[in-house]
Structures are given as C-alpha cells and as structure tokens.
C-alpha cells in the first residue's frame, strides 16, 4: 500500500481528520456525534497513516503506546462521574453545568469531560486492537 499518492494524501488527511474528530466530539451533545464516533474517526486517521507509511512510522508519530489512552480516558470519565458524588452528594454521573457558556465551545459540564474520556478510551482500544492484529500478522 506504499504508493506516493496515498502517502502524500495521508499526511494531509491526518491533521484534518483529527480536527474533524474533535469537531464531532464537541457537537455531540444535541446533534449527531459524540465521544464514540469522534474516537473512531481519530483512530481511523492513525490507521490510514499506518496503511500509507507503515506501522513503525505511525508508532513514532504517536510517541507512546496507544494502550495508555485507555486508563487516561477511563480516569477522566470516572472522575467526571465521581465529581457529583464527592462534591455535591448527588448520584453518580449527575450532570453538573457551568452557569455561563464559554465563547466558541459553549456550555461546559461534566458530560463534556465524560465524552472526552470516551473519546480517548475508544481511540486507545481501537488502536491497540488494530496494532496488535497487524503486528502479529
């Protein structure tokens, strides 16, 4: 699969797809999108890069094992769910929101951080699975 067209295209597609995945992640509260789809799109960006440039280059690009995204994302989601329990004596995962929406991003609440956690976990899981399969092949 190491054609020059794909390689050149993938170098441009990687940042665009990552940006698109973040856009999908952020619009996910009321519109189609969210952490899961966003995470899948982001991992597709890396998989495409791996197709074009080989697994080694993608790993070099990532700098750390994607497996570590799993505990990081889980921890973020867990803490955003735990905040209402510890701070406000509300049930687990109760949504807490800032009163004033921020510019560009909009209202910020625990649901956003939960979704970012999901985004990271999905990337971690997908990339780990795909890297493991393609390494052992």
């Amino acid at each position: 699969m190491k054609t020059i067209i794909l390689r050149t295209a993938s170098n441009y597609l990687l940042p665009i797809l990552l940006l698109f995945s973040i856009f999908i992640l952020l619009r996910g509260h009321y519109l189609p999108g969210g952490g899961f789809v966003g995470g899948l799109i982001a991992s597709i960006a890396f998989v495409l890069h791996a197709f074009a440039n080989g697994l080694k280059d993608t790993k070099k690009l990532l700098k750390f094992h994607p497996g570590y995204l799993m505990p990081a994302g889980l921890a973020l989601s867990f803490l955003s769910g735990l905040l209402p329990v510890v701070g406000f004596d509300e049930p687990f995962m109760t949504g807490l929101w800032l009163h004033h929406p921020l510019p560009v991003i909009g209202s910020i609440g625990t649901a956003l951080f939960f979704d970012i956690g999901v985004y990271l976990v999905v990337q971690g899981v997908t990339l780990t699975i795909i890297f493991t399969i393609s390494e052992s092949a």
């Binding site: 505990p71 921890a75 867990f78 735990l82 004596d89 049930p91 687990f92 949504g95």
Partner: protein, 503 residues
C-alpha cells in the same frame, strides 16, 4: 453521603482497576494495591450490607434520572449480601493469585482485569435495569475471556473457544429476550416491568420472553442440557482464575434467574415445572459426571454443575422456605467453591500435577494442611454442623411441604454422590501411598516459595475456611438473612416502592 453508599463498592472497584492500569508493568506494586484495595472493598461492601440491613432496600438513581427512565442501582438484602460475598472471595483470590500466578501471566494485566471482573459482578448484583444487567454481563464475560486465555497454552485456548462461543450465544439470547420485553412493555426497569408484565394481555409472548431468559441465564449458570462448556474450560486456566470463575461466575446466572423469576415472571406453573425438571437433571448429571473424572479440577467443575441444581430446585419449588434454602445454599456455595479451586491449586503447586492417579501421600507430608483442607471438603458434603448441611435440610423440608418427592430424591442422591466423590478424592490424594513423580523443570513448587508468598498462598484458604465455618456454626444468622431475603423476594412490593416511590 449515606444515600450514595450503594454505589461505593462499584465505584471503588472501577477506581482500583484504573489505578492498576496505570502501573501496568510494575507487578510488585500491583500485588500490593490489589490486596490492600480488596481489603477496602470488603470494608465498603460490609458497610453497604449493614446499611441495607438496618435501613431496608436502598436505591440510587444514576445521573439523577428518575426510574423508570434512568438506570437505577438497587441494593436490597440479596444484592448487598452477594456484593459482600463477592468482595470476600475477591480478597481471598487477590492474595492467592499474587502468590500462585506466575509473573509472566501477571505482566499481561492480570490484576486490572481481575478487578474489572469484580466490577462487573458487583454491577450485575446491584443494577435494577435489565439492559444494564446485560452490559454488566458483557463486562464479566470480556474480562473472563482475557483471564481464561492469559498464558495461551493449548488446552487453555481450546477451552476458551468453547467457553467463548457458548457465552456469546447466551448473551445474544439474553439480548433477544430484552428486545421482546421492550417491544411488549416499552420499559427496561425491572421494578417497572414487575408492574407492567402481570397486566399484559399477550401471555404467549410473555412466556416466550421468559423461556428466552431461562435459556440465556441457563447457559451462564450451567444447568442441565446447557452446561457442556463448563467442564471443557474451567480446568484449563490457572487455579486462581478457576477459583473466581467457579465461585462467582455461574452464581451470577443463578442470581439473575432468581431475580427475574421472583420479580417479573410470576405465577407460571409451566415455568416452575421446567425449573424443577432442570434442577433434578442437573443434580443427577453433575454428580455422575464428577464420579468418573480423574482430574481433580474437572471433578470440582462437575460438582459446580451438580450443586447449581440445589439452587434451581429451591427456585422451582417457589415457597418462602424453599427460596430461603436456595439463598442459603448460594451463600455457602460461593465461599466453598472458591475455596475448593484454590485448594486444587495448592495441590498442584505441591505435587506438580492434578491427576488423581499420580497424586498421593499428602496427608503424610503435610498433616496440618490436609486437616485444614478437610474442613471445606466436609462443608461441601454437608456434614452437620458445617455449612452445606443447613440449606439442604431447608430444601428437603420445603420439598416435603410441596410434595416434590422426586426433587427430594434428587437432593439426597446428589448429596450422597458428592460424599462418594469427595471421599474418593480424599483417599486418592491424601491417603494413598505417594507416587514417584519426576521433578518438573521451570515449575514453581510450593517448597521453593518465599515465606511471604507461602503466607499469601495459604492464608486465603484459611480465611475462606473460617468464613465457611462461621456459615456453619453461625447458621442462625445466615438463616435469618436468607429468610429475610426470601421474604423480600416474594413480597416484591417493597422493591418496587423503593425504586419508584411515586407510583
């Protein structure tokens, strides 16, 4: 703060596995975190149990979405008891596995996944939503797949394929049942279903859903025609993994059966008859299977199947006394089966094999340890006043009350065969003259362990033996707990009121 205590054991296990994932490579640290964390987990579950015991059924509406729209976590006495037992077994197996599982396996994330398994178990006991129950079941089976294949030896992989196929099939059947229930009622909350289902006109489809649930949970709890995956897989992984599987995994299926058939599908004579027939056949086939096996762990696997029959029989007779007996047996069985598989691991580490033919002379060499092992064996058989005796008496009395003489016959037959099987294991493994075995290379023998590891290895067996002695000698307390659970299960108005106070 007191209201949220329902979710504490659950959240704590999740926290524990996240922390363990961050120290993926440092297995010494993982050992310490896992054992200390499990101790805290037992404390939290104990707290939950006493809170429920004094204040009645507790609920938490996750994310503050009221039932029946959100997911509810419900801790009634049954759930709280099982969460406590899960934590106790988890503590024992955590200490046991830090000594007995070899570092090569620990390095592949044994402890994080082990705590994920406990998380799934606790979640399955606490949830009050039927689709959420499915999700917890999936968490359980995904973690158990990883644990069962860890190490990747040939029998392990083959056992995993069988275990995997049947368990996925069970999940799909369970999912189909949920789909049918949702189509019928438009609700997923178990308390809400308990209100809606008796009023439904379409009894035929309700029956179909009930049978689908029965098959799905039946595969998971290994009842008569659906158990063949269990003896094909439970003897293959390390004994620590078998211990947690044997003690808890099939019992989640039994728990789900008890929950569904005392809450949602009631007054169904056909179903009760089916349950009784299944129970008797399970008792017979499990006991006879155990009789012919030569691998100690396979013998124990068949005994798991056999003893599932007691609980299903209690559920099938459907009187308060019978369900109390089944619950008592469930409490006893979780502790004793976990202990049995840990004992099989102890034998394996001493001798280097698990085949009855090549074992022998353990009593001569380790008399104190053998006497210790005798106690769980006797409680398994049900010699009075040890723990297995009392629930069997309750079940037989309940059988007399409802004139189910075949069930009584099955119970007595299974108890007798258990006695014979255990006597055979005892005489072959402990009393027979020792057989000369070649020393295995690269094998961690019990004698070669450091003193700390020996303590970590034997202490859980002692601990669970003490717990099962308490269940036997403090039978009055356990009987009190199980009759209260049976009362709550049969008068489920309180459960529904706790989940949906407004209705």
């Amino acid at each position: 703060m007191m209201q949220q205590v329902v979710t504490y054991p659950l959240l704590f296990q999740l926290l524990l596995s996240i922390i363990l994932m961050f120290v993926w490579r440092r297995i010494d640290l993982q050992r310490i975190i896992s054992i200390c964390g499990s101790l805290v987990g037992v404390a939290l579950s104990g707290w939950l149990f006493f809170h429920v015991w004094t204040n009645g059924t507790q609920t938490v509406q996750a994310a503050s979405w009221d039932a029946p729209f959100g997911i509810t976590f419900v801790a009634d006495t049954l759930a709280a008891t099982l969460v406590l037992l899960t934590s106790i077994s988890g503590l024992a197996v955590s200490s046991y596995s830090s000594a007995s599982v070899i570092p090569a396996r620990l390095r592949f994330g044994y402890f994080p996944i082990f705590h994920f398994l406990l998380l799934g178990l606790i979640g399955a006991f606490l949830t009050g939503d039927i689709f959420n129950l499915y999700v917890w079941f999936e968490i359980i089976i995904i973690s158990s797949f990883v644990l069962i294949t860890l190490g990747g030896e040939k029998p392990q992989i083959e056992g995993a394929v069988k275990y995997f196929t049947l368990n996925i099939l069970a999940s799909i059947i369970f999912l189909t049942a949920i789909a049918v229930m949702y189509g019928l009622t438009g609700s997923l909350n178990m308390a809400d279903l308990a209100v809606i289902v008796p009023k439904l006109e379409n009894r035929g489809l309700v029956e179909v859903a009930a049978i689908l649930f029965l098959i799905g949970f039946g595969i998971k709890s290994a009842v008569f025609p659906l158990y063949f995956w269990l003896p094909a897989s439970y003897h293959t992984p390390p004994s620590a993994v078998s211990a947690i599987f044997g003690g808890l995994l099939t019992k989640v299926g039994v728990y789900a059966l008890i929950r569904i058939f005392t809450l949602i599908f009631l007054d169904d004579i056909l179903l009760d008859d089916i349950l009784l027939i299944i129970a008797v056949l399970t008792l017979f086939s499990g006991a006879i299977g155990a009789l012919v096996q030569k691998n100690v762990r396979k013998v124990f696997s068949y005994l798991i199947i056999c003893h599932i029959g007691f609980m299903i029989a209690g559920l099938g007779m459907f009187t308060e006394a019978a369900i109390a007996g089944a619950i008592f047996y469930l409490i006893h069985d979780i502790i004793v089966k976990t202990n049995l598989f840990m004992i099989s691991g102890v034998i394996y580490r001493i001798k280097g094999t698990i085949n009855i033919k090549s074992l022998g002379g353990l009593y001569e060499k380790y008399p104190k340890l053998s006497l210790l092992i005798a106690i769980p064996f006797f409680s398994l058989i049900g010699i009075p006043p040890l723990s297995g005796f009392w629930p069997k008496i309750s079940l037989i009395l309940a059988g007399l009350d409802t004139n189910n003489y075949i069930v009584i016959g099955g119970i007595i037959f299974a108890s007798l065969l258990t006695l014979i099987v255990i006597a055979r294991v005892w005489s072959e493994v402990f009393w027979k003259n020792p057989v000369k075995l070649p020393k295995r290379e690269h094998f961690l023998y019990f004698e070669d362990m450091t003193n700390l590891r020996k303590v970590q290895f034997i202490a859980p067996v002692v601990f669970l033996t003490l717990v099962s002695l308490y269940i036997g000698f403090g039978a009055e307390h356990i009987q009190q707990i199980s009759s209260r659970i049976a009362g709550e299960l049969l008068n489920h108005g309180e459960y529904i009121k706790a989940v949906m106070p407004k209705s």
